[in-house]
């Protein structure tokens, strides 16, 4: 067999980092340069936020194989934590405030993730779905009733609008990087092993409780970050943004993209968020087409758009150099984004 061209490991990391940086810088320049309409800019930022939400939920649903329905709850915890902190630290230099807010939002959501995860992850399948659904609702009701802190139903207003293209997509890139690196380590293998066969994983010395709660916490952390970005994007927060349908929306993206495929999550988050914009001209048929699209994908590709295909930028470049770009081939994902 002809020896094919492969990048060395450090080269892969440099290429991936460079291309990601290039994407973010170009995007920032284009968006800040006023190339798009306001509505388009808003959609682009939403895409970034939904990428974080979908990729983080995919970690629990696709990789760990559990079905939680409370992702919007973690998002809400992060959103209010970030928003309140940002309002309090508005006097600080903007990047310090942003960083503080995002990290605090993530950590707070992760704490909730651990607190919910320890009792909830004893259950499986539909039972876990119901208990996390309940949790999401409890968070929302708490937010409504803690009006002194959260503003209650009238909402939390005048949040500094920190979520620029640069901030959102840097956060999205970091999310993908962190989850990718975790999944391609002994910890990620343990998580996948639990999905594949819990009893066997246990017998191989994998601490089930630890890894389940760990996955839940990481997922919640990034949901919290996305929540804070959402707050900084909207400039105001209302409890109804975090209801049951919000969780379902994210889950739909994960399933449509293909459970366990990070590329799928990114693609689905992009497509489903951008779709309303693309279909704007069809006004009243918009939701019909949206639903039809979901049904069609699920009928013809039940494993989701990308199945379990893992994306590797450098892998594609290698294939191009080796002259077999269009031949189908399963690749080991080297780096993402």
């Amino acid at each position: 067999m002809k020896k094919s061209f492969r990048f060395s490991v450090p080269t892969r990391y440099i290429i991936n980092f460079g291309l990601t940086a290039l994407f973010i810088i170009c995007g920032t320049l284009i968006v800040n340069g006023g190339a798009f309409k306001r509505a388009t800019n808003a959609i682009i930022l939403q895409i970034g936020i939904y990428i974080i939400l979908t990729v983080s939920l995919n970690m629990v649903t696709g990789y760990l194989g559990q079905l939680p329905l409370g992702h919007a709850g973690f998002m809400a915890v992060g959103a209010y934590t970030g928003a309140i902190l940002w309002k309090a630290t508005a006097a600080m230099p903007c990047w310090v405030s942003i960083l503080l807010g995002l990290i605090a939002a993530g950590l707070m959501a992760a704490v909730f993730g651990v607190l919910i995860g320890i009792p909830a992850l004893r259950l499986k399948g539909d039972y876990l779905a119901i208990i996390t659904l309940g949790f999401g609702e409890i968070i929302r009701i708490c937010i409504i009733n803690l009006a002194g802190i959260t503003g209650g139903t009238p909402g939390l207003l005048n949040i500094p609008k920190y979520s620029s293209f640069f901030v959102v997509f840097t956060a999205a890139a970091i999310t993908c990087y962190v989850i990718h690196t975790i999944m391609h380590s002994r910890h990620g293998r343990a998580i996948l092993a639990i999905r594949e066969n819990e009893i066997a994983a246990d017998a191989c010395g994998i601490n089930l409780t630890y890894y389940k709660v760990f996955t839940f916490a990481v997922s919640a952390f990034f949901a919290g970050v996305a929540g804070a970005l959402f707050a900084g994007f909207q400039g105001s927060l209302f409890p109804k943004s975090f209801d049951f349908m919000a969780s379902i929306n994210i889950l739909v993206m994960v399933v449509l993209g293909g459970m366990g495929s990070m590329l799928g999550s990114v693609v689905a988050a992009t497509v489903l968020t951008a779709l309303p914009l693309v279909l704007q001209g069809l006004s009243e048929y918009r939701m019909v087409i949206y639903s039809l699209l979901l049904i069609i994908v699920m009928i013809f590709k039940p494993s989701g758009l990308m199945g379990k295909y893992d994306f590797s930028l450098t892998g594609i470049i290698e294939d191009a150099i080796n002259g077999r770009l269009f031949r189908k081939k399963r690749k080991e994902g080297a780096e993402n984004e």
Binding site: Y13, Y177, V178, T181, I182, H184, S185, R186, H187, G188, R189, A190, L192, A193, E196, N197, I199, A200, A201, D202, A203, C204, G205, I206, N207, L208, F214, K308
Partner: protein, 277 residues
Amino acid sequence: MNENELTFVPSNARIPKRDLDKTPVLETHHLGIDFGGLTAVDEFNVTIGRTEISGLIGPNGAGKTTVFNLLTNVYTPTRGTILLDGRDTRGKKTSQVCQMGIARTFQNIRLFKEMTVLDNVLVGLHHEMDYGVTGSVLRLPGFWRGEHIARERAIELLSIFDMQDLAEAIAGSLPYGAQRRLEIIRALATNPCLLLLDEPAAGMNPSETAELMENIRKIRDMFQIAILLIEHDMNLVMGICEGIAVLNYGRIIAKGTPAEIKSNPEVIEAYLGKKRA
């Protein structure tokens, strides 16, 4: 993997240098479990030598797999103690018992089907690597070192059964016999001192069974570990086991060497029924 614990042997596999004396690796005292009012296992007393191959046989429903589940703490024993290397396993989780040194395979194969063969073995080697989450996110040197050593070790383990070329194959796509072998390799990867095999020859033809017998002996000699197996194939059990325990209705009805078991009237009765007077 602690390097100074290892020596290299010509067969390409590393032998952990365990003390090879005849002190028991496993002892159980009055082990038993009740499910509600049903006593599934009772008064289970066995002693297994450090490098002994022993068999657990008995008619269907005798409680053999239950014994395995007790030894690995999948079920919590109602009474009795389990001493592994002199250490009590009471109150430990299944995963902790595995780290203490009991590895097992399953009657119905339980592989991580959608993962590659190599990844299956690497899951078994989970605790041989010690880098943390930060190490894997930042790709610190410890991560690369840990992964590199584990990968080499995994390939080495696969080469015992000549499976190193299948490393990148998806585990679920392997033929039946290879899946059984992979499960044994994965169990060995956890560096056990006692290996439990639940019906390793199930679904195998006579020539495959003969090969399996060779392999079980080979594993024992290479790794110097104790092996306890449940099996219905009497040729295999009588051929390789040094000690046999016969279980019926949750109780041990006979213990001894293959020759003793073969001529024991109680065993014959359990399997074939009583002769009418």
